[in-house]
């Protein structure tokens, strides 16, 4: 089993080992020299480092020296520095035959120097400094050594060697100079560029170790640039140092504890002074910053998650760094690559290496970290990216995230490598708070991810994602993230274990000399929902006031309670269920006064608070209340007199009225009263067993239906005849007119040919059709789901009138509806005409009305295609009389009748051959000269 585990996690373990050693160990930097991508890296880092060096040198400067609170330490520092320098020169001698590396590092050093004048400035300042630094003997032993080395070594280019020195120094200095506060004793100062830097104060033991190491390395003979032994040794040294630091820190802690104990005592010894200095130095810092994890092992988040993300990052190594880079890693990966299928492809390709193209990226190009705030997502991303050798580029909600800006940023981060900046490491993009980003921006990101998939093999084309992207969000179910979620490796952060968190907090309190016991810390964790950030903030807050953290303090404190979003369902559940008895950790301060605070959380006051908090945290009062309304009747509770119901409903009414007031007056001062309704419901209806809560949708459904009905009625009303419409409004239509109208328009029609109707029946039919037209109703043919053709009322106002479960109204037969539909569509066109002609509109005159129709100007005729399409069918259905064929002719060929119409009219109406030819615009009249003779 163990073996298997080792096998499985070999590379992670390996990686972790890497991290335990400081990330910028000489070993590593040597390796990076062989990289293809970060070739210039070393040089730049050196430069970067040389900037950091400046403050180190500054103690020699009398002005800067005053910054140091304990000048006694300064010589020590300088001593160690010069020693190191000596050592590094040793190394240089050893390496000097290896010209390649030397050559490589030099030009790369020049590049940034040219591009950044400021940097070169720094160098200029540095040059003499270094010289000064090395020249005067500081400590006899060190000086001796340096001199010895110097004589041994043939210094050809003094200048170069200085530079070389810097190059080599970097490795050692790196861990001396911190941007964050290191553990253990340290001295803070302002760096060259104005940033705050810290240096560790070291013991002599460490120096001894270093010295011994120097000796060792000198003695070694080696063929390789960096021998394996040396690497090992260095690793060893690092470990030892670590141990030492740890020990140192522990002693510090002990000291501080001791000091704490006799805090009341009059005198503070030297050490206390230092601690005070430290504190005063770090006063400006938030604890959150101060105690932020800087190493993988410091992380509080769950191991599995850390490892997964790290692994994913490592998968990018192949694309980001070159192949040779992490042979060790790769080998390990190769061994176990088959086990994890999402890596298969990558490692399969890896074997072929040179031939295959560079697209050996992990399948999921994006990692999506999600979880509630304060679990250390951002920290994790930062630390891992840094440790995996990336340069962090962060985009968060504070940046402009419009599509364009977002795009340029992403492209800048993923496509380019920083040349100008000090840090040449490849970028790793961290998009923080992505759940707040606009949808288009996220789509853009998606496109970027997808584009790479298609465009394999065209690296030059650009737009190919070659850098890892880590997205961080609080809510992965934000709609805009839906697609991204499918394409990303989603890592959900669970809550940090309270015990783990509390122990970390305990460490912090110890360090900050704040008295606290585990219990109170646990209480704090619970109160903040295991939010590391708010825990630390709270602690710091308390620290300012008093030196002791008691459980009582935490319970009564108002800060630290998180204002987090909670899902609606959890809120409803809280409201409808009685809380389980549980030790109460926070109470209202009022309860304390009443000495009731020892009562558990099932007390009324606590319940009140809890439910109120839950409601606050959901934020969507409207929804919450709607959910209450739709679910409360399902609850099991005892209320024989239904008084509770009344009470609850009164509250609902109150809330509704308040809402109305707020909406109407835009006056939000009443809003705070609304959440209390949930408390009422909780007190009334909460039971031990949570009811099955359903999402409230009936209100929404009702409003949809209502709109539909209203639209139907409006549609009907808009095209009514004005003289009818005038006397109606929507309410009256629905309440008074429509119900009887539905009956009226469904008379009994004999199912026979209309030709056989009596005059009375014909008159009735005509009447019906007039009603239909006046009220803008007709029948439309529709295909029912089961494939049958039916005629339904249009607009379907019958839906508005009919109620579920009521007596079904009599329906007209299909044929009758068809008949009505045809008649209405015909008549609505000729409505004006037929109305003016008075009574002769009955069906017997339908032939005549056809001819009437023929006289209607052509532009109107186009309005009734329905008549043509329905009628022929109609004729076939009903026809066994000859006359109908006659009727059909004018219907089916309206154009022809229009032609023949003139002939008919000529005979009937105005029987004349003469016609008038109008000549618009001009007259043909001619004036002619006439001679008088003509008159004679």
């Amino acid at each position: 089993m163990e073996e298997e585990f080792d096998f499985d996690y070999a590379d992670e373990l390996d990686a972790m080992e890497d991290f335990e050693a400081p990330s910028y160990s000489p070993q590593k930097s040597k390796r990076t020299l062989c990289f293809e991508t970060p070739k210039s890296k070393t040089g730049k880092e050196d430069l970067n480092d040389s900037i950091n060096l400046t403050p180190l040198e500054s103690p020699a400067d009398p002005v800067n020296g005053s910054l140091f609170h304990s000048p006694s330490k300064t010589p020590k520092t300088r001593l160690s520095r010069s020693e190191k320098r000596g050592r590094s020169q040793d190394e240089f001698t050893l390496l000097s035959d290896d010209e390649d590396i030397y050559e490589m590092s030099l030009p790369s050093l020049d590049v940034p120097a040219r591009k950044r004048p400021r940097l070169s400035d720094a160098k200029e300042i540095k040059g003499p400094d270094d010289g000064d630094d090395i020249a005067p003997p500081v400590s006899p032993s060190a000086e001796d050594k340096i001199l010895a080395i110097r004589t041994k070594k043939n210094v050809v280019n003094g200048n170069e060697s200085t530079q070389r020195n810097i190059t080599q120094d970097y490795d050692f200095e790196r861990k001396r100079v911190f941007r964050r506060i290191p553990s253990g004793d340290f001295v803070g100062t302002t760096g060259y560029e104005g940033q705050k830097v810290y240096m560790k104060i070291k013991d002599e033991i460490e120096q001894d170790i270093e010295f011994s190491n120097v000796g060792k390395s000198v003695k070694k003979t080696q063929l390789l640039a960096v021998s394996l032994d040396e690497l090992k040794d260095q690793l060893e040294i690092e470990r030892q140092q670590k141990l030492m630091e740890e020990a140192e820190r522990l002693t510090q802690e002990i000291h501080s504890n001791l000091r704490e104990d006799n805090l009341d005592g009059s005198e503070a010894d030297d050490e206390d002074e230092i601690t005070d200095n430290v504190q005063s130095d770090s006063k400006g810092l938030l604890w959150v910053e101060k105690y932020a994890p800087v190493q993988y092992t410091d992380l509080l988040s769950e191991e599995l998650i850390n490892r997964t993300l790290l692994h994913w990052l490592k998968l990018w190594d192949h694309v980001v760094f070159n192949k040779e880079v992490s042979t060790k890693l790769k080998d390990k990966n190769k061994k176990k690559g088959n086990d994890k299928d999402f890596k298969k492809k990558k490692f399969g390709a890896d074997l072929l290496e040179e031939e295959l193209d560079k697209f050996n990226r992990p399948v999921q190009k994006v990692a999506l970290l999600n979880g509630p705030p304060g679990l250390g997502k951002t920290t994790l991303a930062h630390i891992l990216a840094r440790h995996a050798g990336y340069n962090m580029v962060e985009i968060n909600a504070s940046d402009d995230r419009s599509v364009d800006v977002f795009k340029t940023k992403i492209e800048a981060a993923t496509q380019m490598k920083s040349v100008l900046e000090a840090d040449p490491r490849p970028n790793c993009l961290v998009i923080d708070e992505i759940d707040g980003a606009p949808q288009p921006a996220i789509n853009m990101l998606l496109n970027l991810i997808k584009k790479t998939d298609e465009g394999s093999g065209k690296k030059k084309e650009g737009g190919i994602l070659l850098r890892p992207i880590i997205c961080i969000c609080n809510d992965q179910y934000v709609p805009s993230l839906r697609l991204l979620r499918q394409n990303a490796m989603v890592i959900t952060f669970p809550q940090t274990e309270p015990a783990k968190l509390a122990s970390r907090l305990y460490e912090v309190t110890r360090k900050e000399s704040l008295k606290a016991d585990m219990n109170s810390l646990l209480a704090l964790c619970e109160k903040t929902d295991n939010d590391i950030r708010s825990c630390l903030n709270t602690l710091q807050f308390i620290h300012r006031h008093c030196k002791e953290l008691s459980i009582r303090l935490i319970q009564t404190m108002n800060v630290g309670q998180k204002d987090s979003q909670r899902s609606l369902f959890s809120v409803w559940n809280d409201i409808f269920t009685l809380p389980r008895p549980k030790r109460n950790r926070f109470l209202n301060i009022n309860d304390l006064k009443n000495e009731e605070w020892k009562v558990n959380n099932t007390s009324d006051a606590a319940r009140f608070q809890n439910v109120l908090q839950a409601t606050y945290s959901s934020g969507e009062y409207e929804k919450v209340i709607q959910g209450l309304f739709e679910n409360y009747l399902e609850c099991k509770y005892k209320d024989p007199k239904m008084e509770g119901l009344n009470f609850a409903l009164d509250w609902l009414c109150f809330v509704d009225r308040t809402n109305q007031y707020i909406a109407h007056k835009q006056d939000y001062c009443l809003l705070p009263y609304i959440p209390y309704v949930t408390v009422t419901f909780h007190m009334l209806f909460a039971s031990n067993q949570a009811p099955r809560i359903q999402y409230p949708h009936s209100q929404y459904e009702a409003s949809v239906k209502l709109t539909k009905s209203q639209n139907l009625v409006t549609a009907m009303m808009t095209d009514m005849i004005p003289s009818v419409r005038k006397y109606l409004d929507q309410g009256k239509t629905v309440l008074e007119v429509l119900p009887p109208l539905m009956d009226i328009i469904m008379p009994t029609l004999r199912p026979i040919n209309t030709q056989l109707y009596s005059t009375r029946e014909k008159e009735e039919l005509a009447q019906l059709i007039r009603i239909m037209i006046a009220y803008n109703m007709t029948y439309l043919q529709e295909k029912s789901p089961d494939g049958q053709y039916i005629y339904s009322l249009d607009p379907k106002v019958d839906e508005v009138v009919k109620f579920l479960g009521m007596k079904q109204q009599r329906q007209l037969t299909y044929a009758a509806k068809q008949l009505i539909a045809r008649e209405t569509s015909e008549r609505s066109v000729g409505e004006e005409v037929s109305r003016n002609r008075g009574g002769s509109t009955s069906l017997s005159s339908s032939n005549q009305s056809k001819t009437d129709e023929a006289f209607i100007p052509n532009h109107k005729r186009r309005l009734d295609p329905k008549a043509v399409s329905v009628a022929p069918e109609e004729v076939i259905v009903r026809d066994f009389f000859g006359r109908i064929i006659k009727r059909k002719t004018p219907e089916a060929k309206p154009k022809q009748t229009a032609g023949g119409e003139e002939v008919k009219k000529k005979k009937n109406v105005l029987n004349t051959d003469v016609w008038f030819h109008f000549k618009g615009g001009f007259s043909n009249a001619v004036r002619r000269n006439v001679r008088v003779q003509d008159f004679l």
Partner: protein, 127 residues
């Protein structure tokens, strides 16, 4: 040279005619000549607007007074009274006897210059 113009009867007995001024022409169907044909109906509305109905067209016009009144003359020969008005070639020689008879005086014309409207049968005329 004098051309005598005679007014039959007394000065007050001369009939007064009116010109119908049409914007357009009268045409016939089937190449029938216009002669002696029934042309159409002329009505006056109660507002004294002339309405002319020709075929299936209805024309609305207006009554205008002429600046100078016209007289409608008929040419007469003293010797041969039965000469037609249009027989001008004959009259050339016996010009001395020629005289004109006033048939009617025209002081007004009925001007129909608007586009005619079609008549749709069975639709009451919009007046």
């Amino acid at each position: 040279m004098q051309i005598p113009i005679k007014i039959p009867g007394g000065p007050g007995q001369c009939p007064e005619w009116a010109i119908i001024d049409l914007q357009g022409g009268l045409e016939t169907r089937n190449n029938v000549s216009l002669n002696g044909r029934f042309m159409g109906d002329l009505h006056f509305t109660h507002k004294n607007v002339p309405v002319l109905i020709i075929g299936h067209h209805i024309l609305y016009g207006k009554v205008c007074d002429l600046e100078k009144p016209f007289a409608v003359l008929t040419k007469k020969h003293s010797d041969t009274d039965n000469d037609t008005v249009l027989d001008q070639d004959n009259t050339d020689k016996q010009h001395t006897d020629t005289h004109y008879l006033v048939k009617a005086i025209i002081r007004r014309r009925l001007l129909f210059k608007t586009r005619p409207k079609p008549i749709i049968a069975n639709v009451p005329k919009k007046l």
